[in-house]
């Protein structure tokens, strides 16, 4: 985990490098920087998934000395990274199907074990659809058997590769092309959906964590922690999608940060089913600030708008804050 940071400049979310210890500092991209997902891929401008995957896979590569193999589910990440004969992947990588990345990871891990190659480690990765819906059976099986695979879910909260349809990770009230903002209850229905990090925790696997692309050091640290362990590990990364969310490409990081600072997306770590750490909210922000930046929620704010839905989403954020103790004791909920 990051050492706690003292923010001398109040009212800003950015931390000047000089306020950080050297290992926590961000550095400009350099040619020497490791790059498991090379440039030239076809992701949209501002794609959170491309950013999240690159930092996560890079960190995993660094943690295991480059001795890493990846299994990838069908989805944006797979499609934009391998427009063959070009491929962005600088590590052995296999795409099999949409719903089987976790099982393919299990197979690779089993093969490595038989071959006595315990130095080589395995990650499996996919989008929220490939993870929470169609790939859930294989994922739960991999968890339950405690197979030696780190599964990375890049959650952009919908089926983006097929043109933005609802998944079980789509937030309530969000517009997708299968939850249109029409009728008395526009957008994705309340009362549905699943929280995969909690389900992963219920398997009591060695490590479960959530992260966002707003805090890449935190993401890297969690990957590193995950790679220091064996068995089934799960990392759920919130990756805003400008195209699917109807957001400005320049707002990807800001949105990820707002998701955390509103309490909408709790950032935490858990071991064997128990929460061990949470990222505290620095300055609590009403969900409206987060929602307004995204066209998928525009119907909540038009005329007449849906203030009751905004309130319901706020209540969900508040519940997260309470449940995971996302605020320091000094701040009242």
């Amino acid at each position: 985990m990051n050492a706690s940071i003292k923010f001398y400049q109040t009212g800003t979310f950015t931390v000047g490098n000089r306020l950080l210890s050297p290992e926590q500092r961000s550095v400009q991209a350099s040619l020497e920087r490791s790059n498991a997902i090379n440039s030239g891929h076809r992701a949209c401008q501002g794609c959170g998934e491309a950013l999240g995957a690159r930092y996560a896979v890079d960190a995993a590569m660094r943690a295991v000395n480059g001795q890493l193999i990846a299994a990838n589910a069908t989805g944006c990440l797979e499609v934009f990274s391998t427009p063959y004969p070009e491929t962005s992947w600088q590590l052995p990588w296999i795409h099999s199907l949409f719903g089987n990345a976790a099982a393919v990871g299990t197979g690779i891990a089993a093969a490595l074990k038989v071959k006595g190659r315990q130095d080589v480690r395995v990650i499996a990765q996919g989008g929220d659809g490939g993870t929470t819906d169609i790939g859930f059976g294989c994922l739960s099986g991999m968890f339950e058997r405690n197979d030696d695979v780190l599964y990375l879910c890049y959650d952009n909260e919908a089926y983006m590769n097929t043109g933005v349809q609802r998944s079980s990770a789509t937030p309530h009230a969000a517009r997708t092309n299968t939850t249109m903002p029409v009728g008395p209850e526009p957008g994705a229905p309340f009362g549905q959906g699943k929280k995969l990090p909690l389900i992963a925790m219920a398997h009591e696997i060695p490590y479960v964590a959530t992260a966002t692309v707003a805090d890449l050091h935190d993401l890297e640290n969690k990957v590193e922690r995950a790679m220091s362990m064996h068995g089934a590990r799960y990392l759920h990364v919130l990756v805003p999608c400008p195209l699917g969310w109807g957001a400005d490409s320049a707002d990807t990081i800001k949105l990820a940060r707002l998701a955390r600072e509103t309490g909408i997306f709790p950032v935490l770590e858990a071991e064997r089913g128990e929460v061990t750490a949470v990222s505290k909210i620095r300055r609590r922000i009403p969900v409206e600030e987060y929602l307004r930046l995204q066209k998928r929620f525009a119907h909540l704010f038009g005329k007449p708008g849906h203030p009751e839905m905004v309130a319901a989403i706020q209540a969900e954020a508040d519940r997260n804050i309470c449940r995971f103790k996302l605020l320091d004791k000094t701040e009242a909920v």
């Binding site: 990838n72 391998t82 296999i94 690779i108 074990k113 059976g137 058997r145």
Partner: protein, 417 residues
Amino acid sequence: MRKQIEGSRAVAEAVALARPEVICAYPISPQTHIVEGLGELVKSGKIAPCEFVNVESEFAAMSVAIGASAAGARAYTATASQGLLFMAEAVYNASGLGLPIVMTLANRAIGAPINIWNDHSDSMSQRDCGWIQLFAAHNQEALDLHIQAFKLAEELSMPVMVCMDGFILTHAVEGIDMPTQDEVDAFLPPYEPRQVLDPAEPVSIGAMVGPEAFMEVRYLAHAKQTVALERIPEIAAEFCDRFGRNTGGLVRSYHCDDAETIVVALGSVIGTLRETVEELRRDGMKIGVLGISSFRPFPLAAVREVLQGAKRVVVLEKSFSVGLGGVVSTDVRLALEGAPVRGYTVVAGLGGRAITRASLASTLRDAVDEKLEPLTFMDLDWRIVNRQLEREAASRRSGPIAENLLRDVGSVASKVS
């Protein structure tokens, strides 16, 4: 060594002799005894090093096999029926990726209505999946085919399905010659993958392919099966040299040289057919049997060579294409293109319906007397079929078909006198 063992156990021991490195198991009758046997062999250390993965579905079984094979391990799984359908997407993927997985298919009917007994609907449902499909006529052949299958699969880098009739073979106890480990090691070299996930030489496997090359990739899969058409008999011959048993190959004919009528079939029914044919020959009928051992690739030339001299060909099928008729028949007719041979399809043994010598003999006599319909469902109980048709004509809400028929048949217990 000669052993009296169950077919499933024989297959488990044969697979063990092939030194599999990753075995994925998900239970379904009539495959269960095979994976149970393998589980025990792995756990007791008789197969080592080997990972035995109890997966949560057949889809995962094939997916784990895909990952293992792509990472350079010799991978094996087994399934049947619903299980094969459940893994279908991964079955196509394994062949598309060119991964030499070996899978036993304990042939069983597909529901609904759910039925655990033998027929070939499962194999035929994946006819076009790009796997090599070999059919065993008896348990010794099932055992031998598994050892040949690993060699074939790995040489060509394509997966092989060994099909054996559920229950009829899997659960039958027969005398079996079990090869020794040294013999199998000498026949089957260690797996040398064509492509492997290896950090020392990173490759991307499974990229999207567009119109610019997709046809060519598919053609190459077909071309490989054409090579398999040559390698299958060669491997069978090498196997015969080393193990002294003539099993496998493309086709197997009995009394076909002078036959005017030839029955074509796959799997264990060939044994019953051979006996039937002997009986009919004693009555002076010029009749023979052609067993197809390699269903995919389909040996068009070998089939034609045997059949073209006959007057009529009866394809006996344990599956059918609803709305058309025979599945294997279509392939056989393609082999006979232009030859003046009459073709009949006899659908028999669906869902475990017994195929008796008496019924076969009378059906084949009908064929010889030119009294057989082009498409015949052998031993169909017309009584219950017609009653259901009447019911449907009489009332819109005639109810679920299978349950109606079962009521007409009456409880099985009532028939036990």
